[in-house]
């Protein structure tokens, strides 16, 4: 049986921590872009994904996605329930026993489970950007639970499990999740934007970012964590992880340049939000391709999506759907581009790292096959994810409700959903009245008081 490799394990554990950090990073990237009255709701929509998905993951998610990863006879559509609660997995702690290792990586399954969990967390979190400023927190939390259960867990099996059908049968190369993560989330975002509808004042009121440095901070944390996301996906600390790391860096940088150039052409300026968005577009695009291309190839896998996505963010205005923070324009479009560009730029040397029979790309003498395979994989995930995401959103919206009332939206979801204000610079804050704080009192009042920003009814001060 394979033995433990402390170096690989150290890398996978470090990568797991890096990927966990991506979700707060995303929260700030998104949170900085919304108006000051809904930044907290945006942070919370992301934060709650961590909590909800983690619980589902240990209970059944891991088992459904990877529970039969080592079983060549898996049906390819979903895993098992036999590893529910992760109980049957050997930790290797009790003397004499050995930790169950994932494949031939020398890394304990528990470490790989931590790593893959972080992917399951950030994927639904990505959707939140499409429905900023108007989402009911409870409805969203339930939606996230349903979404990962019915969509992410199986799709992760299809794409990431050695015996998943997209991976094993269709020979798709998706190293770190162009389909399973970005196209998947992008499709969900489109569905949610359509179900929830436009924000009040969409295309009329100005809705500029309230804190651009936070957008940059978020982008920086995403970039930092993404090295764990991509290079960690090698599950080993060696040559492949090293090239993947370099490719990730290169594509992200050329994407920044691509976006800035497109912006200069369109608006005559290089913006900060544009540079941050370009970086994310590049990270998205290189995610599936990072282990299939050479650094030279990575230049194009970044440059092209960076440039194109800058135009793609205008789609929502053209087709008039309120994908508030451009999840479609960046993650769906970027994910599709990255997945398909593999069909052109996949290089023989890198491709040899894949054991699923994938071929080199069109520009590297591999012919058209891989491009077709990639398209197939992208198409299947998009179709499945969009349809099911749409249905789930309709159901949740019709039951618990996914969208807040118009008054609440105008007052701001921070106040109405979370009873908080993001910032208080001290000016007039002397004008709050402090309520009795004993739990008793608090409970009493809390019933009467539905916090509301522009609530017009007379209301007794607590």
């Amino acid at each position: 049986m394979p033995t433990l490799d402390s170096g690989n394990t150290a890398w996978v554990l470090a990568s797991s921590a890096l990927v966990l950090l991506m979700t707060p990073g995303l929260a700030f990237f998104y949170g900085g872009m919304v108006r000051a009255k809904s930044v907290l709701n945006m942070l919370m929509m992301n934060f709650i994904c961590i909590a909800v998905v983690t619980v589902a993951w240990v209970l059944y998610g891991w088992s459904v996605s990877f529970g039969n990863a080592n079983d060549a006879n898996g049906n390819g559509f979903w895993g098992t329930l036999t590893q529910w609660g992760m109980q049957s997995i050997n930790t290797g702690i009790s003397s004499g026993s050995h930790a169950t290792i994932y494949g031939t990586t020398g890394v304990p399954i528990f470490a790989v489970a931590c790593f893959q969990l972080m992917f399951a967390i950030i994927t639904p979190a990505l959707i939140s950007g499409a429905i900023a400023d108007r989402t009911k927190f409870v409805g969203w939390s339930i939606y996230v639970l349903a979404w990962v259960t019915v969509i992410y867990f199986p799709v992760a099996h299809w794409v990431f499990s050695p015996n998943g059908f997209i991976n094993a049968k269709l020979h798709v190369m998706d190293f770190a999740g162009g389909t399973a993560v970005h196209i998947n989330a992008g499709a969900g975002a489109l569905a949610c934007a359509l179900v929830l509808g436009k924000r009040i004042g969409f295309k009329k009121d100005p809705m500029r970012p309230h804190n651009v440095p936070f957008v940059m901070l978020g982008a920086a944390l995403l970039w930092f964590g993404w090295f764990g996301f991509n290079a960690g996906s090698a599950l080993t600390a060696g040559g492949q992880a090293s090239v993947v790391f370099m490719n990730t860096q290169v594509a992200t940088c050329t994407a920044v340049i691509g976006w800035l150039v497109a912006e200069k052409i369109q608006h005559g300026k290089f913006t900060t939000v544009g540079a941050a968005s370009g970086a994310v577009a590049g990270l998205v695009a290189i995610t599936p391709a990072c282990a299939s291309v050479s650094p030279i190839g990575a230049i194009f896998v970044g440059l092209i999506p960076g440039f194109v996505c800058c135009y793609a963010v205008n789609l929502k205005n053209r087709f008039d759907f309120d994908d508030s923070l451009d999840v479609v324009g960046v993650h769906l479009v970027g994910g599709i581009l990255g997945t398909l560009l593999i069909g052109f730029f996949a290089a023989p040397n890198e491709v040899s790292g894949f054991t699923n029979g994938a071929k080199a790309g069109l520009f590297y003498g591999g012919g058209i096959d891989q491009l077709l395979a990639q398209s197939e994989g992208a198409g299947i995930v998009f179709a499945y994810s969009f349809v099911v995401s749409f249905i789930l959103a309709k159901i949740v919206n019709a039951t618990v409700g996914l969208r807040v009332s118009a008054e609440d939206e105008i007052a701001g979801v921070d106040q109405t959903e979370h009873a908080e204000t993001a910032y208080d610079w001290g000016g007039l804050s002397g004008t709050l009245h402090r309520a009795a704080v004993s739990v008793a009192a608090a409970t009493a009042t809390s019933n009467g008081s539905t916090p509301a920003g522009e609530s017009d009814e007379e209301k007794v001060t607590v």
Partner: protein, 112 residues
Amino acid sequence: MKLITAVVKPYKLDEVKTALQAFGVHGLTVNEASGYGRQRGHTEVYRGAEYTVDLVPKVRIELLAEDHDVEDLLNVIAKAAQTGKIGDGKIWVTPVETVVRVRTGERGAEAL
């Protein structure tokens, strides 16, 4: 010369500005304010403590106008700012003895 001061709901500012422009007003000064009145605030919660915020955000518009425009301007502003809900705000008029345009030193009507 008069000074018209209007305290209205922030998201109404744009409409008021547009209406005034349509009327032919070429300038005004605005600042953020907080209002207290019949319209009540909201409750916030932090670590077990509940706060009542009883000031609501408003914008305060100042408009220097010639006497004969005042009446019309009051109506223009009131119309544009009105929602019919408590909290729409107030407008008041005070006399102005002199106005100076800093750039040119012009006085009175020319200064507007």
